[in-house]
Subunit: 310 residues, 2 copies
């Protein structure tokens, strides 16, 4: 079994390749829940759903959120009642969230609700929320501490951030299966997700980071920063605002206590020596997942470089 | 103020005429909640919403349920998760139900949630659910006691009924404003709604029937049975199954303890004497509300016949 630490779109695209390189049943993703929120009275879990929709082949890849061809009748109708409508939850996407909300109101933890949803979409990949406890990513800005969705969607990440807080993470326990997956994995891969907003909340759960440090399996991380910029989203700008240089070297520092291998793009090949100087192996390859063949090729290369037999 | 005891479509259509004959702010409808149900984890209140949509001019008059031109993306998507989809709750309609559910989860009673929804649709008419307590109409059939929506929507009312039960009605208290409206009304009109399924649950709330008996204002009822058949819905068949002849005379017997005036269609003019023999005045007129002018004309005629000054 290969375990992937996953955020949203970058992870979802990598997982599409990985389930083709292996078998879908051999992949377990441990997924960020720091973006989760209550919207319109519904429990939304954007990273879990985005991965589900990508693996089911129905993701809206242009919006990088929700379901392809979705409509917005409900959210537009809610405007009449005074709800903000900047969170463009599509109607089909809303059905998923409504089902999850119903299951959780019946007392199911997020992990069990997720398992039911993933199965309903016909997927064999295991998706585990990193925790069933509430962890909420918040951002300190000039306007004070704001919620992730306010920052990311309402403000389009266009406001400087001084500090990122993973509210609840210190007290959060890993969801059932998370520690077991890390302990039993043949290889662990940190997906090319935002290190602060997507992987950060995962690592902020103390037992998860501890388990990664102790893991027997080789651990690789794929840099989401290529040529100094983020492939998707605000990671590069956010890193700069937090005083970090957006570079695979910085990513290596962030994960240095548990990774064995750093995967960087050809364009960053000059950084190989510097990363190796930190005691981390380096795979230099084409990390731009522009089509399904490239996604699968990247997944295969990473697995081979980790020395995992499949 | 004129008070209308209201069920679904027949009442909604009559109310459209009444708010034109009077002023919208002079009308209070006391509305059946026996059809209310939890569907897809949402609190649906078909009669309240159907009246709201009719008065807002957005009702789907062909389906006699929901919003004109609505779409069904959510309900169709819910099928994947195993939800039954025979209850065709449209996306825009679902937004209303989601809002009501959110308000009620915050602790608001149905009457307050209703007031907010009615205001959001820009209506000046007051809609009062007959009670904030749960009253659920159930039907005894060869398959046992079944829920109203199962009977009415899933089974299309195509199964014989032995008995109708208004579960919870005996213990239900009138919602705030209901008894006051009845006491202060200048006239009270029982809309041409199904006497068993729509008006029955209203009258089964003990204090409501008692208040009607004691009301100072004249009370009229418009027969929903015309020429032996129901204008809409299964009232005639249901009445027969319950051993009643579907006729304005039977309607008069059902309401005899509190009405002063029975409004019947021209086609039933031969029944005038029999109804008058029960001590009830009779207005014979055209009760078929085929267009807005006829709805308004019927409303005006009833008000005049009740002797109410407007």
């Amino acid at each position: 079994m290969i375990v992937v630490l996953a955020g949203g779109t970058g992870a979802a695209r990598f997982l599409q390749g990985l389930v083709r390189a292996l078998k879908p049943g051999e992949v377990t993703a441990i997924v960020n829940v720091g973006d989760d929120a209550e919207m319109y009275g519904l429990y939304v879990s954007p990273d879990l759903d985005n991965i589900t929709y990508h693996l089911a082949g129905i993701a809206d890849e242009e919006r990088a959120f929700g379901i392809k061809g979705d409509t917005f009748a409900v959210v537009d109708s809610l405007a009449r009642f005074g709800y903000p409508t900047w969170f463009r939850l599509g109607d089909r996407d809303l059905a998923t969230c409504l089902h999850r909300t119903n299951l959780m109101r019946k007392g199911l933890p997020l992990s069990q609700a997720t398992a039911q949803i993933v199965r309903a979409f016909g997927l064999q990949t295991t998706l585990l929320p990193v925790t069933d406890d509430p962890v909420r990513t918040k951002l300190e800005t000039s306007q004070g501490l704001i919620d992730f969705q306010d920052y990311f969607v309402a403000l389009k990440a266009q406001v400087p951030v001084n500090r990122v807080v993973y509210e609840g993470a210190e007290r959060a326990r890993p969801a059932p299966g998370v520690l077991e997956a890390i302990a039993l994995a043949k290889g662990i891969i940190v997906a090319p997700s935002n290190p602060i907003l997507s992987i950060g909340p995962l690592l902020a759960v103390p037992e998860v980071r501890e388990a990664l440090r102790k893991a027997q399996a080789p651990i690789a991380a794929i840099s989401p920063i290529v040529g100094g910029t983020a492939l998707k989203g605000p990671a590069d700008r956010l890193m700069r605002e937090l005083g970090m240089e957006p570079s695979p070297v910085t990513i290596t520092h962030l994960y240095n206590d548990f990774i064995d291998l750093m995967v960087i793009d050809q364009i960053d090949s000059a950084l190989k020596g510097e990363i190796e100087g930190l005691g981390i192996h380096v795979l230099v390859t084409d990390t731009i997942m522009s089509d399904m063949a490239k996604k699968e090729a990247l997944a295969k290369e990473v697995i081979v470089a980790m020395g995992v037999e499949t």
